[in-house]
Symmetry: D2
Subunit: 479 residues, 4 copies
């Protein structure tokens, strides 16, 4: 079907359905052709009439979408894929012209023709009041459907493309979160916290109100009550080696002005629908800058971070026929881990600690996943930001989750401002993990990363790699 | 040059120039290779290192650009055209794959490959503090260069594309401008006013402070002190027929609650660099809505607008060998216009008024430019918004500019909420001007628009048409 | 001691103690002469030097006071009484002059001379940053000491006098309290709620977040985080007859726009130190006005209020040898109240309800305390505001406190705007309780208020009466 | 008339005039008994009914007052004096009781009885929306009437007393005034500037917008758009010796961070009705503190101030038969001042400068007015604040007013934080002017202040003195 005929058809369709669209309320329950109607509304929104009545139309479409049941939502996403891609006829004409004469004008027309019509559709949907919040939820859905239907990647790419523009760092606002923050935002902090569970308002108060605690979040001007990402910070006299010291209820706060270290002990993304849009990097650097200005005595900026992939990896190594990471002796000692109560047997700890610590060093420095990446998602995030792996902390978190995921292990990543850029490049372009000497010494020097499958003749795909890290992202890459 | 080799070269270049970039300050005067250096910095910003140091790099690039002289800025734009378009090798591969198997995945890759690298570059430049303000000024420059070099349309398309996303109506904030507005914003109102000159603070006060005057502007959250567009409104008891009644200093304000009409007598775009990004349509409709809520007695929403293209068109008709618009008798009467003092000769006015009014009716209803569009840019704007041409006002503005451009003529456009959509479609899809019966009667009914060159078998290209109107836009389409 | 010699002495004292005062920090623990030092500092603050260093001195004094133990605080209040009253010598001279020639000048001098020096002292203490908050706490203490030492009424009068000026309604700010209010303010709402206990954040959310709930508080510009008084409001379809309907967790909120009644079900004063400074009257009227503007459909403004003095009064009547309020039959039926489980025995309720309701009508309409006032403090507050006693609700609150204080009884007071002034005057000048006919019918008409001891030849002391009501005030007169 | 009978009468009056008061609008023009009606309304406001309807009544009274003509306003002030003083009968009773037994209770009752009823009346008038603004204007009027009728001092004392409480420093808010300040406030800065005339918005911009200029004002929370007092500050590299250097249009601003001096070159009180309520002292000290925090490099805080009393004093000395200040030779040289063009004759300046400078030193250090005070009101203000007279600047301001008032002389006062208190006491208690050595050397050391008439055996009445300085105050004591 040529674009022209398609366009005429579309106009015809609109004429047929007529003004009816605009006077429609939200979809009635059980409306047979609800998704068809939506398609028509979307076409109208893209048409010239959409220019005159864009806000009302956009609102109508989003209201309807919110009343959709899961099957209708899935159908609608398919419509977006099938009917709102690039205008293929125009695209083919543009390709032909470009091949005939590859001048700037032809190239421009090709770029324009290759852009899916979805992008303009999404932009116009954003005209609705509070449109962006609904669009973020729409993508949250989309990501679930995409898991079953890889073709939907094309639809997702358009959302991601626009969200990348709209949630550009230049538009985000950093706001401190504290005990003077409105309750409706604070209850979201409780709900979104993804690293160290907040058990209620009293626990929240302990994380926000004391003088030696800080919290910061990024907000978007159009989502005023809903944080995008937040980080919790402890001001301390030294880099902490376990989480209990930070979170225990009966600790005595220190004077903020006496602190020398700022510890990022929890970073949580808040919006599933913004997966892959990277904020964490900017957040940490901005917070480091702000804290340095407020407290000139601060000289150490570090995390206390979980190691969510460690237990699974370790189990694989323990069961593998051959493991470079673990000797037979190591395996034998680690067998004790199969006893759920191992951590409460002091006599065991002394023998397990050195083995587990060395294994962890190997896990970070040598182990790679099948994409040739560092296995641990949190490590990929912080190392990709230019931090250095600073210390491995044995039995640093005895919570159920930490015991399951990492046998209680935590690590510190160190953000040293002068080294961030070099560290980042070492990691991003050469794939090397920057670690403190004490950690490096735990791993034999002569061997490169083990399971890395080198792709011959190709540089490490640095941009994609960090993209991949990001896409793992969302609630996973938390510190 | 293949993308791979280019990329390697680029990496090499970066390696060569090394860390130097990051420590560079603003360009030194007379720096020989300032534009080359900029190219390198831009490549770095797009590279993986740009992810780690994006904000600093973006700031450095924008600072340097601000210190550029006009020739350097022109050269830089050429670099953007030549070096930051789509990756052509990847594009060709994508075309081939798509032709081989036109599935969603191939289409997606084609869309991605066709996107110029400039877009990501511009997005990353926006990381700099206050980046968007500088980018808007960068496009202001670009538009000047584009006038001489049409190939730059490709670069401009990328700016326009991103600005379209960033300045999406969903992100704009409507704020009233009044005598409690900060002075630094008010001085911009004085400066940007493009329709009826504001002679200073005392004149400004007369437009803002009285109870029967209102002003509204759109702002972007990242440009807090700089309006994008504003409209001045007079609350009156009737639709005014000349500007002096509205602006005279010694008038007695009426009580706002007694007004029945809201008159939009001046709309000015503020940012040259946002040319073609349409706000006016949304602004007027939002203001209508807000005023209706505040003053339920208001029943008439209209403009008092200039007719900037009338005098030029009339002169052409008067000199044309054949004119459908003017009879010989008409021409003879209009000869009096060649006397600069005609407007002060009461005896002349009686004979000129009916002829000029009828000619104006023709000008709006029948005259078309060579693109088949209504000649008058202000008319295109308001009619495109769904307004109706309501009344032609003879000698309604005796200011120098109005006399030169329109022999003092002004018109009212009427915004009737219930008709806006129909009016818009009549105009946009059929090219017909919706006008009050009294105006329509002034023009013989049997003839269609005169200079329209019909493109056989094709509907008037509605989307483009309004795009064209917009692009004329900026300070021209003011009411 | 003459004023002159006193003043010289004082200057001498200051000279002796010298600059030492200003460099003193907060009082050292166990400092023997801490209160003497305070006296010196206060004199200095009143002296000319106080003009130059007022803020620092005031801060020093208030810091010291905060470090005082209870005995020191008590001693300090005695110093305020003994040493910072009016200058008696000057006062006597002024009296003499006034008696000699009672002209305006002499009268002015007498007024000035009669003003205790404490007033200027308190005014100057307010120069300290956050001074007013400390002064309010100082009076909180003072009220406790005054209970044992009636002479301190003179000191209290000065605090009350100044607080009356500073917390004048003209300076208070009404702010809605809702789920977007900062947490540090909300936790005070939980703490200060004095009528229906708030068990934690989840209960608070149920009172603030639903669409049919509102809360408003008065704030002072200098006490931004600390409410002075707040009222909780339920928007309902009818005047409620028991508290459970309002507070139950699983109720379905109604749309606010559908409500016809606004029910003030809890009013709490927050600051003990502001006892006797009346806000509640203004608060209720302001909230009524604001709600009427927001919801024009509201036509009923009423309370659901406790009856805190009822059980005690009833017991006295039941035990009295003679009671006009209760017949022998009544007493016999009410004997069931001595069984703590009476309220759970349905068969009892039918016989108790009419007797208790009639006794309550008598309690409001006829019973008077020994000052001739209505017994119930909440009744005095609302009737004094011009409300009408509208309905008596049997077993309307089964909480422990309500059962103890009022056998579960609650009442509605009705605020009918057109009648407020008349009602107020009827109550204030004639001592008559305005009640709904259904209530009046429960009490024999021929008898006046029973225990009122008429003071012959004197009008009911209206101003004092409401003063007295107020002074009972604070957490007691809550609805 | 006894209080009781008066009170009964009053009640009767109110009963007679009845509800009429409350329904009265603003006074009708030519209303015969407008002032009588006001008296009745004021009595009602003080009565118990005033408690119920205070806000409406207060608004009514203030609206009426605003519609009063000057004669009515004068009559109303007389009513305030005659009818709203202390209740004399109660006062006499209190005096008797106090004389019989001077215990705390009797003293308290005496204090209360001696307070004029006006004070409570003014407090209740403040209930009206925006009441305080009207009350300030009411006192502005009152001050004019008082000039002719000294008895009105009693009424003024009550206003001053309450304003002293309400405008207590603890309630004032310091806000920077700059080019982002709302225009309605900035136009008041133009209007209120009392030292160096601001010729319009362009001149205002030059004082506010440059990086090395600052302006600060005190605001009251209830008068949000109206500053109470403001100070203009120049950040400079040295203490300036003439005003032209600061105000010239074409000067090049310095970087604020490079400044070492902050120069207060203009202080203006804004509200005539707040005469005698002292803000300037606090303003300067607060601004010094704020600037020091923002710019740690600042080490000099000084004024460049006018000398408004100099020319008049000098003329008196020149014409006096005997002058200790001027020798015959001095007088002969100063005769040149009678030629209006003297300042433009370079040859004259050399001879006049030393004589005039020495005379000015005498003027500050020795001359006293008949109250024994320093003659110059600006000097009294700054010296009373603890500043030091630092430098005398010949021909430092050639504006008409400065030439007339001070033959163009200006001075610098230096605010040295460590010395402020000592300086203040030296000046306040010993009447000595603290001046730089270079100035002291210009005056013979052996003589005390010349025209001081010592009051035998009495210390200089320091508090009153600074009161007097203040009362001169308002627009006069500007720097």
């Amino acid at each position: 079907m040529s674009r022209t005929s398609f366009f005429s058809d579309m106009l015809q369709t609109i004429a047929d359905r007529g003004r009816r669209f605009l006077s429609l309320g939200p979809a009635r329950e059980g409306e047979a052709d609800a998704v068809d109607t939506m398609e028509g509304l979307c076409e109208t929104l893209l048409s010239s009439r959409g220019e005159a009545s864009g806000m009302a139309l956009a609102k109508n479409i989003l209201d309807r979408w919110q009343s959709f049941d899961p099957q209708q939502r899935r159908d609608f996403v398919i419509v977006l894929l099938a009917r709102f891609g690039p205008d293929t006829e125009r695209l083919e004409q543009a390709i032909e012209n470009y091949r005939a004469e590859p001048n700037p004008k032809a190239l421009l027309e090709l770029s324009v023709a290759a852009e899916p019509r979805r992008q303009e559709l999404i932009r116009r949907l954003n005209l609705a009041p509070n449109g962006i919040a609904t669009l973020v939820r729409m993508r949250e859905d989309l990501l679930k459907f995409k898991a079953d239907n890889p073709d939907l990647a094309a639809v997702d790419a358009d959302f991601a493309h626009l969200f990348g523009s709209w949630f550009n760092r230049g538009f985000l606002v950093l706001r401190p979160i504290n005990w003077s923050t409105p309750a409706n935002i604070l209850e979201k902090i409780i709900r979104y916290e993804a690293v160290h569970h907040i058990g209620g308002w009293d626990e929240l108060r302990l994380r926000l109100a004391p003088e030696d605690r800080r919290c910061f979040a990024f907000f978007h001007p159009q989502l005023v009550d809903d944080p995008l990402i937040f980080v919790e910070v402890a001001l301390t006299r030294e880099m902490p080696s376990n989480i209990a010291d930070l979170l225990t209820e009966d600790r005595a706060p220190i004077r903020a002005a006496d602190a020398t270290s700022a510890v990022f002990y929890s970073i949580s993304n808040c919006q599933e629908g913004l997966k892959g849009i990277s904020f964490g990097n900017f957040l940490i650097k901005q917070v480091v800058e702000d804290l340095r200005r407020e407290f000139p005595r601060l000289d150490t900026f570090a995390t206390l971070s979980p190691v969510p992939g460690f237990a699974e990896w370790l189990l694989r190594e323990r069961r593998a026929e051959i493991s470079d990471a673990l000797s037979a002796a190591d395996r034998s000692k680690l067998a004790a881990l199969d006893d759920p109560g191992w951590a409460d047997q002091p006599q065991l700890l002394a023998s397990i600690k050195p083995v587990m610590t060395a294994a962890a060093a190997w896990y970070f420095l040598k182990a790679r996943n099948r994409n040739g990446k560092v296995v641990d998602p949190v490590a990929r995030f912080h190392l990709g930001n230019g931090a250095r792996l600073e210390r491995i902390n044995f039995l640093a978190d005895r919570s159920g989750r930490a015991m399951r995921q990492a046998h209680g292990l935590m690590v510190n990543y160190l953000y040293k401002l002068d080294d961030i850029e070099t560290n980042h490049e070492t990691f991003a372009t050469r794939g090397q993990v920057v670690a403190a000497p004490a950690i490096r010494r735990l791993v034999p020097a002569d061997k490169g990363p083990r399971s890395l499958v080198p792709v011959p003749g190709v540089l490490p795909p640095d941009v994609q790699s960090s993209d991949a890290a990001r896409k793992k992202g969302s609630k996973e890459f938390t510190s």
